[in-house]
Symmetry: C2
Subunit: 457 residues, 2 copies
């Protein structure tokens, strides 16, 4: 029996896509930067079918790339060439939130937007948000330990996962869905799977911890004349506004670029940097916020103004994408060295990739900076290396929330010791002994299985 037959038997003929036209949407990431041909695209509809797909691929020695909403930014969810793409899109059921525990069960293919809607309908809050909400799926969010704009208060996916079901590379089904806050019986396999980028197992189902509904939401946009002032403000916001939920950084280049893209005049005065903060309290947090920010800050306590402020932040990604294929880095920097990092990035990029355009923005409250560089060809990684080395040099991380993927695997050594990477490899071998899951992702030099899947089709 060929792999194709085997997979058809597992999931039904119509859910095994071999036609190049049908495969195409699964082969290129949304940014257009990462692309590879898939041997096949398989769309299982249940956890058992996921297990059957993995078993078939193990038998055939065929490498597998798990894929959610295909909104990844590091090439970890699209084929490199010849793999089977395992799309979780059909596992998209969304349960009814359980009010007693404030938790909800979802299939790995459910989108963040669907989770948010279900939470809202139950009078609760999904406790996570980011721009790709209507495409990104829970499986990918868990596999990457996504964060987004509200992680400052609600934590990353790791903090929201109350239960997890996954199929490991060796076929083991891990199922821990009781939703107990305290359950320390045995090694915590779910905790290991969160952020493992599909290298150890395929997440099939998630039990998500919701939050109390936001009662009063107030945003504020502050213009500041130096990056040092930015860091000082972040400190005051964190200590003096307990209901603080988001602190975003915008720089003048980004605002100008966004306004040009939208065809609108700049809504803010000239400044060195802008901070967009939001507080969400049971009581009205306006006073707390007002006490911390300068007098000329723009406080927005009505929905329309708030949304206008956030659009300024969220449209930048879109404006950049419209201008070309950016190199995107998602680094984390300790607050104490944030101003230094932000100042050193533009000259470092200019030296590595002369004539390119650099944009920095991100989730300031947790030191998560997104650096986007327009200019260098996809294959030219001089700027990538410059930015990642700088993040490592200031004691930060090369990946805050996007993951390592294929984009940064070769630089993992900048922040993890050889011994730590060796320990990760040992774990990978332990749970995916045949090496079928996402070879080449995260761990440098994890080879694809010797036989290419295409030879068995």
């Amino acid at each position: 029996m060929t792999l194709t037959d085997d997979l058809r038997a597992a999931v039904g003929e119509r859910h095994v896509l071999s036609d190049p036209e049908l495969r195409a949407p699964y082969e290129t990431d949304w940014s257009g930067r990462f692309h590879g041909e898939a041997a096949l695209v398989v769309r299982p509809g249940t956890t058992d079918e996921v297990a059957a797909v993995l078993a078939a691929c193990r038998r055939a020695g065929a490498p597998v790339v798990p894929q959610g909403g295909n909104t990844g930014l590091v090439g970890g969810g699209v084929p490199r060439g010849g793999e089977v793409v395992l799309s979780l899109g059909r596992l998209d059921d969304v349960g009814v939130p359980d009010l007693a525990t404030a938790q909800v069960e979802l299939g790995a293919g459910a989108t963040l937007g669907a989770l948010q809607a279900a939470a809202r309908a139950a009078g609760l809050d999904a406790a996570m948000d980011f721009g790709a909400r209507d495409s990104a799926t829970l499986g990918g969010i868990v596999a990457c330990d996504s964060g987004g704009v509200r992680a400052l208060r609600h934590g990353t996916a790791r903090a929201r996962v109350a239960g997890l079901e996954a199929v490991l590379g060796d076929g083991t089904v891990v199922r821990r869905m009781s939703g107990l806050l305290k359950d320390n019986a045995g090694l915590n396999l779910p905790a290991l799977l969160v952020g493992s980028e599909g290298t150890l197992g395929v997440v099939t189902r998630v039990r998500w911890r919701l939050a109390a509904p936001p009662r009063r939401r107030v945003a504020v946009l502050v213009a500041l004349d130096s990056l040092d002032e930015v860091v000082g403000l972040v400190g005051r916001l964190r200590t003096e506004v307990p209901s603080l939920e988001a602190v975003e950084l915008l720089l003048p280049e980004g605002i100008a670029f966004t306004c040009e893209y939208l065809g609108v005049p700049s809504p803010v005065r000239d400044a060195a940097a802008y901070v967009l903060a939001e507080a969400v309290g049971a009581q009205d947090p306006t006073e707390e916020l007002a006490a911390v920010v300068p007098d000329d800050a723009l406080l927005a306590d009505d929905t329309a103004t708030r949304e206008r402020l956030w659009r300024l932040r969220e449209t930048l990604t879109e404006a950049i994408a419209a201008a070309g294929i950016p190199h995107k880095f998602d680094v984390g920097v300790p607050i104490a060295r944030l101003a230094e990092f932000l100042e050193r990035v533009p000259p470092a990029v200019e030296a590595a990739a002369p004539g390119s355009r650099t944009f920095q923005f991100g989730h300031l409250g947790d030191g998560n900076v997104h650096v986007n560089v327009l200019g260098p060809e996809p294959g030219d990684e001089a700027a990538d290396e410059a930015v990642l080395r700088l993040a490592a040099e200031v004691g930060g991380t090369i990946s805050a929330e996007h993951g390592v993927g294929v984009a940064k695997a070769r630089w993992l050594h900048l922040i993890r010791s050889d011994a730590e990477i060796a320990a990760m490899r040992s774990i990978k071998r332990a749970l995916d002994p045949d090496g079928v899951l996402n070879p080449g992702v995260m761990l440098p030099g994890t080879a694809s299985p010797a036989a290419s899947a295409t030879t068995h089709l």
Copy 2:
């Protein structure tokens, strides 16, 4: 060179204890239930010395039992017979909290009490508390993923660990101390180590996430006439009191036993159950609490009354210990089946161990029930099995926060599949290939290395 020589070279002669009298405090757990003779007790003073101790033990094939404050309740931190006890007690430094990040670094041997004092001195809050605060150490807290009375709001140790340093069984030093909220570069080894009970590595240093200082603290004690009412009240407290921090259950047998032990009359009316709840808000949470509890509830917003209420809860453990060596189970039960569980435990224990006395109390808000049974001999585990089977049957866990240890290893299969346990074993082999770390703990049947340490002394 013998193992003793090797260890003396690693940590200095005076920190290798072979004298039976000096070893004794390390050989029996505080409850008196678990006891075993140690080949030696070693007290390293630095992370490098911990690594050297593990290397020496690997060379000699000597099994190692890591030990913190020796307040464990499942026999995971005392020798079973012939192991080297690795005491982390000398790694007890406590850093100064960093106000910008609200984090503090501590050695694994620092106590929870020391952490609380450091946090208070900096105007912050340790965000964790339980009875053994002055003995339990951070290393043990992390290794067991401890919870305690405030986990409802602040999470278990897992949620508080902002950074971790550990030496794995194979000698790898894992060091991730940048304290970034978002850092998903590579497999999350710290997340795997939390709750691993010393089977994969030895925690040497912790970076702890502190919380904003509690401003206004109010406790309430409520007498209720049925267990169903208890579950209803917990639901209302959770949804209507956002600043809720603890919800504890007390039962009449426990209150009577405590009052008898203290020689005081019962401070409460007769009832089927009592709930002790505490809310901690930036604003005064009294009104929120008062709106949810019955009119005859005892609200305590002054420190003296609050402490009296908490003493009622905390003294029970002491009263039980004074009456004998209890069998202690720490199970987790989904809220929806909590009343059923609480009702079924006493007859199940009576059937398994006739004439014994059963006490149930615990952290109701997160479904964590502590069952203490007085009567059966330490070796008689019929009651243990009855309680653990019941917890599994209602969809709960056999260990909420104490860990599996040696006490419950044989029952792990009640809630984890054979395949999941096999996956845990694979991970154990990957990170501790020589099997020197805590054999017999957590994973059923992990054998000690063939050669007993004593033969090499």
